[in-house]
């Protein structure tokens, strides 16, 4: 009796497993993004129109990043994600670890369809955003225009906010010290360069407060806790549009990075994912996102379709992009541990 039952359970299990694999092959295209207002905007301008136009069924999921999540998906053999929006560090790590398919640019219209920084081995950049100098126009008689002004406590007295941690902070210190954007990481790779960055930070250390969550800079500017701060450009524009703030942005030498679309390794929906990328990569489609949420697009020709009042808030606008520095993920992958330690030592001295 027991044995027969056991056999039955086994057979049932096998049947379940078989149907599971079968459904894995037939499941709908699953797109994973970052939720919130951002994914709402994506749904409105990309996901729904794509579904209507192509007739492809599409499932949405949300995640908070972390290469471990993707690793676990692939390792378990039960990956149910196809197209995932990843940050630049996950793109680098996951590509190295073989978690993603290679990006077949020929199938999505060729590399020349995208801005150069969006092209990589395993992914295609889909939004571009920046760390910028932000200030409250209502509290400043003269507007700061550069990172050098950020360090000028004579002309601009008051507290300043910076993101806690060496990443972005050391770049900003060197840029303020007159280093050209192209030289920043070369210099940071040397001990002398790191010393120089910390010396520059020393000059305003008593005026610095450190933020850790992306919402803090706008809050602190609003409450007058700081007179200026580095911040994600999208948060500052959103505070102006939604909360009636009058924050200014100094774009000069902003630090930018990209999020990218990747296709998960072994995805059964590669063709649908490629079709989606082809749909999204049309300039008139991609240009529909920035008016809803101020992230720069990576599609050539999309910016030209944007109204001037939208474009001026984007990191991809020509006047904003000039002199911008792309955050070097490979540098930080290698040096973050050491510089974290040194930064923590410096900051708590």
């Amino acid at each position: 009796m027991l044995r027969r039952n056991f056999g039955a359970v086994l057979a049932m299990g096998a049947a379940l497993l078989a149907s599971g694999t079968a459904s894995a092959q037939q499941r709908d295209l699953t797109i994973v993004s970052w939720g919130g207002a951002y994914q709402d905007a994506q749904r409105e301008v990309f996901f729904r129109p794509f579904q209507q136009q192509s007739g492809t069924r599409l499932l949405e999921e949300t995640w908070d990043g972390g290469v471990g999540v993707l690793r676990a998906k692939i390792q378990s053999g039960a990956n149910n994600w196809d197209l995932v929006q990843v940050e630049s560090e996950e793109l680098l790590l996951g590509c190295e670890e073989g978690l993603f398919e290679r990006m077949d640019f020929a199938a999505i219209g060729g590399e020349q369809r995208f801005i150069p920084s969006a092209v990589s081995e395993c992914g295609v950049g889909n939004i571009l955003y920046s760390f910028v100098l932000a200030y409250d126009r209502g509290r400043m008689s003269t507007a700061p225009t550069s990172w050098a002004d950020f360090f000028d406590t004579q002309r601009f007295p008051g507290k300043r906010g910076l993101r806690r941690g060496p990443k972005t902070t050391l770049e900003i210190a060197l840029l303020a010290d007159g280093v050209a954007p192209g030289e920043v990481y070369k210099l940071l790779a040397t001990d002398a360069g790191v010393d120089r960055a910390f010396r520059k930070l020393d000059s305003i250390r008593n005026d610095l407060v450190w933020w850790e969550r992306g919402s803090q800079p706008a809050q602190w500017l609003a409450s007058g806790e700081v007179v200026m701060t580095d911040a994600y450009n999208g948060r500052i524009t959103a505070a102006n549009q939604n909360d009636g703030r009058n924050f200014g942005i100094a774009w000069r030498n902003n630090l930018f990075t990209l999020d990218s679309w990747v296709i998960m390794k072994g995805s059964p929906n590669r063709a649908q994912a490629t079709a989606y990328l082809n749909f999204w990569a049309q300039p008139q489609v991609a240009a529909a996102l920035p008016p809803r949420i101020p992230y720069g697009t990576t599609i050539r020709g999309a910016d030209a379709l944007l109204p001037a009042n939208v474009l001026e808030n984007l990191p991809t606008a020509p006047q904003n992009a000039e002199g911008a520095l792309q955050i070097d993920d490979r540098f930080w992958l290698d040096n973050l541990d050491k510089l974290n330690q040194r930064f923590n030592n410096w900051v708590s001295r």
Partner: protein
């Protein structure tokens, strides 16, 4: 008794124990580089090792890469993250080397590896591998004491710009001590007041102490943020009373941290002292007074010694809780007001380096154990019972 013991083991000792064990376990590098570690077992650390170690490295990396490509295990990624912690540069050195030597080559492994990445000619990366060879190591425990082993295995101090945790440990102790002394200075008179108040008022006074006790710690901390911020209630009041010209910097400093900590910890000081005073034989101070002792002398010679057990219990309770404070310094403090638990959180969630988080937790646990042992030695727990 037995079920309770099992319950304690399963839900308390076991999870915490397995986490703390990560401080000494080396689980990331050995599965990826088993042959290399074996080849390095007799290595003296004076110069880069010979051909056998290079050949072992090639074999290990090829196998690990093949495994990772098939199953997406990311084992090379995790091993390189652990090694990068020891020697910066490993995060890309190991995956890049694995990629470049994946295809077969002619001749010596040493030449091929050095051609793929010249860094392998140095001592440092090999020393890092040998330190991470496991199965157990003291790397993280030494790191939280600002120490490190060199290639030959001798313990040496970390360079000054990389040393931080000893200073953080002393700061944690100092902030906790300050909070305890302040809580005692405010809590003792308060407990005295409640214990000696007429029975009509005493419950209300006690409720006044207990009410904040029932409010979430985060809520109370956030409330202090609202009060102390630049355009907050306190600054607005001070300016409207013309006591201050401009807004005072009340937030993000040691004062704000101590203020909120004392506020949050006060009940833990007041209640043991109150219980102690309530149980005290009040005929004794009265007897002293009737024999001609001044009130001050009566307090100093009779009441204070009798309430020492309450003071001891309250201070120990407050000090130990203060040692583990995290949210309050993180939200109200500046960069140099962060305590040990901030760095536990930093490694656990920001850099996902659980070994360092576990090692720092061990340090905190050891600090608490030492404090409790000192207390037992100097005061003794038998005196802590309410008199």
């Amino acid at each position: 008794m037995a079920p309770l013991l099992i319950f304690l083991l399963v839900v308390f000792v076991l999870p915490i124990g397995t986490f703390l064990a990560r401080a000494v376990q080396e689980s990331d590098v050995p599965p990826v580089l088993p042959r290399t570690i074996a080849a390095l077992s007799g290595w003296d650390g004076a110069a880069a090792p010979g051909e056998p170690a290079f050949a072992a490295l090639v074999e290990d990396l090829r196998e690990a890469r093949r495994r990772d490509q098939e199953a997406g295990g990311g084992s090379i990624g995790r091993a390189s993250a652990r090694l990068n912690n020891d020697w910066p540069g490993f995060r890309s050195l190991l995956p890049a080397t694995a990629r470049r030597i994946a295809s077969p080559f002619q001749g010596e492994a040493r030449a091929a590896v050095l051609a793929a990445a010249p860094e392998w000619g140095e001592v440092a990366p090999w020393a890092a591998i040998s330190r991470a060879g496991g199965p157990l190591s003291d790397f993280h425990l030494l790191a939280v004491l600002d120490l490190k082993r060199d290639a030959a295995g001798h313990i040496a101090a970390a360079p000054p710009d990389q040393s931080i945790f000893r200073a953080v440990l002393w700061r944690t102790m100092w902030i906790s001590l300050c909070a305890t002394v302040l809580a005692l200075a405010i809590g003792y008179p308060l407990a005295w007041l409640i214990a000696t108040a007429p029975s009509r008022f005493a419950p209300w006074l006690l409720a006044g102490v207990l009410l904040p006790f029932w409010t979430s710690l985060i809520v109370r901390t956030a409330a202090w943020m609202v009060l102390l911020q630049r355009e907050g209630v306190v600054n607005a009041t001070l300016q409207s009373l013309r006591l201050a010209d401009g807004p005072l910097p009340l937030l993000f400093n040691r004062g704000a941290v101590l203020l909120a900590m004392v506020h949050i910890l006060l009940p833990f000081m007041v209640l043991p002292i109150y219980a102690n005073l309530k149980g005290m034989d009040w005929r004794l101070p009265r007897a002293a007074m009737s024999l001609g002792a001044s009130p001050l002398r009566t307090f100093w010679r009779i009441s204070l010694p009798l309430s020492l057990p309450g003071i001891g219990a309250g201070s120990l309770l407050v000090f130990i809780q203060a040692l583990g404070f995290y949210v309050t310094p993180a939200l109200l403090g500046g960069a140099n007001d962060q305590m040990l638990s901030y760095f536990v959180g930093f490694y656990a969630t920001r850099t996902v380096n659980w070994s360092m988080a576990a090692a720092l937790s061990c340090l905190l646990l050891a600090a608490v154990a030492i404090v409790v042992a000192l207390y037992a030695r100097l005061v003794g727990f038998e005196k802590t019972r309410p008199a």
